[in-house]
Every structure is written in C-alpha cells, then in structure tokens.
Amino acid sequence: MMRRTHPALSAWAWLVYGFLYLPILVLIIFSFNDSKFGATWAGFTTKWYGVLLAREDVREALTNTLLVALSSTLISTVLGTLVGLGLWRYSTRFRLPLTFLLVTPIVIPDVVMGVSLLMFYSLVRGGLELTGWTFENGFWTVMFAHVTFQISYVALTVRSRLAGYDRSLEEAARDLGASSVQSFLRVILPLALPGVLAGALLAFTLSLDDFVVTYFTSGSGFRTLPVLIYTSVKKGVTPDINALSTLLVLFTVIAIIAANAIMRPRPGRRGEA
C-alpha cells in the first residue's frame, strides 16, 4: 500500500510547518519581552497585557469588531442558508449566472469591493441629503459590507453539505402530510444544520479578520481591531500590539478546536467545510 512517505517529503512538510509557525511563535515570545524595542530580549514581563487592557481605544475596537461580526453573521447566515437551499432544491436555467454571482464576492479583489462600496455609500448619502436625512459611515455601512462577502461563503457551504442528499426527501415528507414549512423545519434544516453552522463560523471569522473592506467603509470614527492594528503598525510597532495579537491568536486556536469538536464528521459520511 501507499502509506509510507518518502523521508524527504516528511522533512519538507515539517519545514513548511516550521515556516507557518515561526512568526506566531516570535509574536508570542515578544509579547512577554520587557524591552520596548522588540529586537532584543530584556527579560520576561506580562506588563504589555496590562498596558493593552488599559487602552480605551482597544476595548472600543474590540466591541465594534464583535458587534459587526455577530450581527453580520446573523443576517448572512439566514440569507446564505436560503440561497444554499434554493440552489440545491430547484433546478433553473439561471444556475450558471447564479453561481457566478455567488463566486464573484469571493474572487473579486477586496480592495475593489471596498472602494466600490465607498463610492456607493457616498452616492446614497448624497441622494439622502436632498431629503434632509443623512448618515455617517460607521457600524451600519461596515456591517452591510461584511454581509455582502459572507453570503456566498454561507450559501456555498450549505449547498455543498446538502449535495449528497436526494431531493425526494422533501417530497417524501410532503407525501406524509407535512406542510412546506414543516418539511423545511423538520427535515431539510436538520440535514443542512452542520453546513449552516460551518458557514456561520466561517462568516464570523471572515468578519473578524477583514481589514480592507472595513477600512474603506468605516469612515473616521469607527474602528475595528484590524483597522486599529493597521494604524498602529503604520505609526510604529509597540509591544502592546504583540500582546493584542497573541490574545487574538489564542482566541483563534480555541475557536478552531471548539469548531472542530462540534463539526466532527459522523462515521460513514465525509465531513467537508
């Protein structure tokens, strides 16, 4: 059997893993470094975590990030799940254009998405000013922008989860007397649920992670953590950013392990996503 791997291949793989983890390790180590200028080791300290937690702007950015991520995930999960179900359930000659529409937000360069939304919002604002009502770029503009790139990921995850199932399941439920709402809630949704959860988790992470689209749609008064990190890095690296990054990495690891435990594929079916 083809189980054995060539030693050179193993060595290469572990080198690549080393490359993937080196920056993260360096980041964690330097977050405990007593020196203000990162390059040299000046002893162990946890003071940067204290400095970080005392920063008002960090707490505000964290709240903003979580609020945007939670609300955009909620909206995009509902819309995306419905799209995924529709794609799976119905045959239509608009399948190819629909697929194209869904793939576009994934492949369009994020800078293009960001600047086009910036112009869209400014034009809408211009139009609204005529009616005397106006808005600033901030929570809502960022949140709507995030929903826009999240929908596709949710829809495609849900659809791929359902791909293996036979469409006649729903018909069988209907034949047994279930209403369309009942068959949706009792038969289809439970089948799709792992896909819905995976999609929601992906959407949530994408929102937490997004910098470029947020940067263009947030205006000046509204900052998320990635935007805050960007401005800090541009001004010059400070050690409390290492502490912030370390905490975010820790959060990621916990979230992934938890997600992995929830989504562990059941025996007999290959779990994707």
Partner: protein, 275 residues
Amino acid sequence: MLTLRRFFATLGPGVLWLAVFLIVPVAIMFGYSLLTRTDLAQVGGPLTLESWGRVFGYDALFREWVPDNLRVLGRSLLIAGFSTLLCILMGYPLAFYIARQPARRKSFLLLLLIIPFWTNFLIRVYAWILILRPFDLVPSLTATFLGMVYAFLPFFVLPVYSSVEKVDWRLLEAAQDLGASPIKAFMAAVFPQTLPGLIAGILLTFIPALGTFVVSDILGGAKTALIGNLVQNQFGQAGDWPYGSALSFLLMGAVLVGLWLYARSAGQKGLEELI
C-alpha cells in the same frame, strides 16, 4: 421547478442583497470612471475617457504615452506570479504529505494548517516585521515575497489537498508495473488527477496576491508598490476617484480573465468547488 414564489422564499433575498451591495456599487464605480476629478475628491462632468486613457498609459496633460501604470501592473503580475510559484513549491508536496497520513494524524495536520489560516491576516503580515527587522529587511522585496507566501499558502494547500485525497493510486502502480520510472509514472498517472485542485489553488493564491495592498504597504515600502497600492492611493492621498475606479476595472479585468479561463476548463461544478 423554480417558480417566482419559491424564488422569493429562498434565493430571492440573498440575490437581491448581492444586487444592491455588489452589482450596483460596481456599476457606480463604472460611472465614476467616466467622470473627471474636480478638486478634493469631488467629481463632476463632463463624461470623459480620460481615466481609462491614463490606465492604459496615455497622459492627457502631455499628450503622450507614459506606460507607468502598465509597468506597475506588470510588476504586480510578476510579484503575484512569483509568490504563487513559491506557494506551489512549498504547498504542493505538503498536500501530498498530509493526504498520505493515517486518518487521525491527517486531521491533526489539517488543524495545524488551518490555525495560521484563520489567524488575523494583518497579524500574520505584521509578525514578519518582528522577524525581519533585525536583518534590516523591512521594507524590502524579499519581505514582500515572504509576507505574500505566508499569507496565501493555506489558500493554496487546501484545494490541492482535497484533490490529492481523491487520487486513484492504482493508476500509479499500473504505470510503474508497465515500466515507467517513478517520475514519469507520477507525471502520467498522478499529476493530471491533481490538476483541478492545483488550478483552484493557483487562482486562490494569485488573485489575492495581485490585488493586495496590505502586504506591500506594510512589508514592501514604496519601491514595491503594486496595482492594489495604486488603487488605494487614489482613494486616500491622491483623492482621484475616477482614476482609481478605472484602475480597479483593470485589476478586476485581470481577475475575471483568470476566472473565465478556469470556468471554461473546469465547468460549472469546478466553479462551485472553487472554495
């Protein structure tokens, strides 16, 4: 059958959302690209093709062809291409290594791969400053390449891995039984089977690498400015939205050509499997 009622109960809301927040903004961007900058990021008439002319190197002020932009695009294509090549070199063997492990070990290795992938993009790029600064390598082209490969490698490995996992290894044995050398057998029997994943991986690496402005901004300095930096600059300091819009279309055009080629070779199913 998809009736109108069913459409509005399932696909409708999402499609409508994408129409309003994706299609309309791109259409507006097209409109902006035909306008003229007046002052302070203001735009106005008359409708003109000036920005498009500038994108393709025509300088209206001096009435001559100055292909600076096309050089930036060329450089972006080269840097994105080379970064993708590095990803292939590092990631293609890695995908095979993971795919050939026993199941438990395989899911552990995938988890190890996904952790950096789900770590905030900016943090991943920023971490390289800490490593490279003592060597005086920030900003530099080397730093840009390292940052790009680091940021996009997991995007490359995951689709390649999923196609390596489906490889029918009996074909390799058959080729070897028929007397092919290991390399020849691999190229004839295994490589073609991994091609869909490889192409998807290349697209998922190349496209963000082409469009990024963050990596080159943080790690590259002014000398490695890419087309993404040029676009960002028009919406920041330069305040020239029409020109920035036209440049965005150049970037989007490069991406859509790649996608169209992919859709033609992989078809509808391939397009859906891209993520």
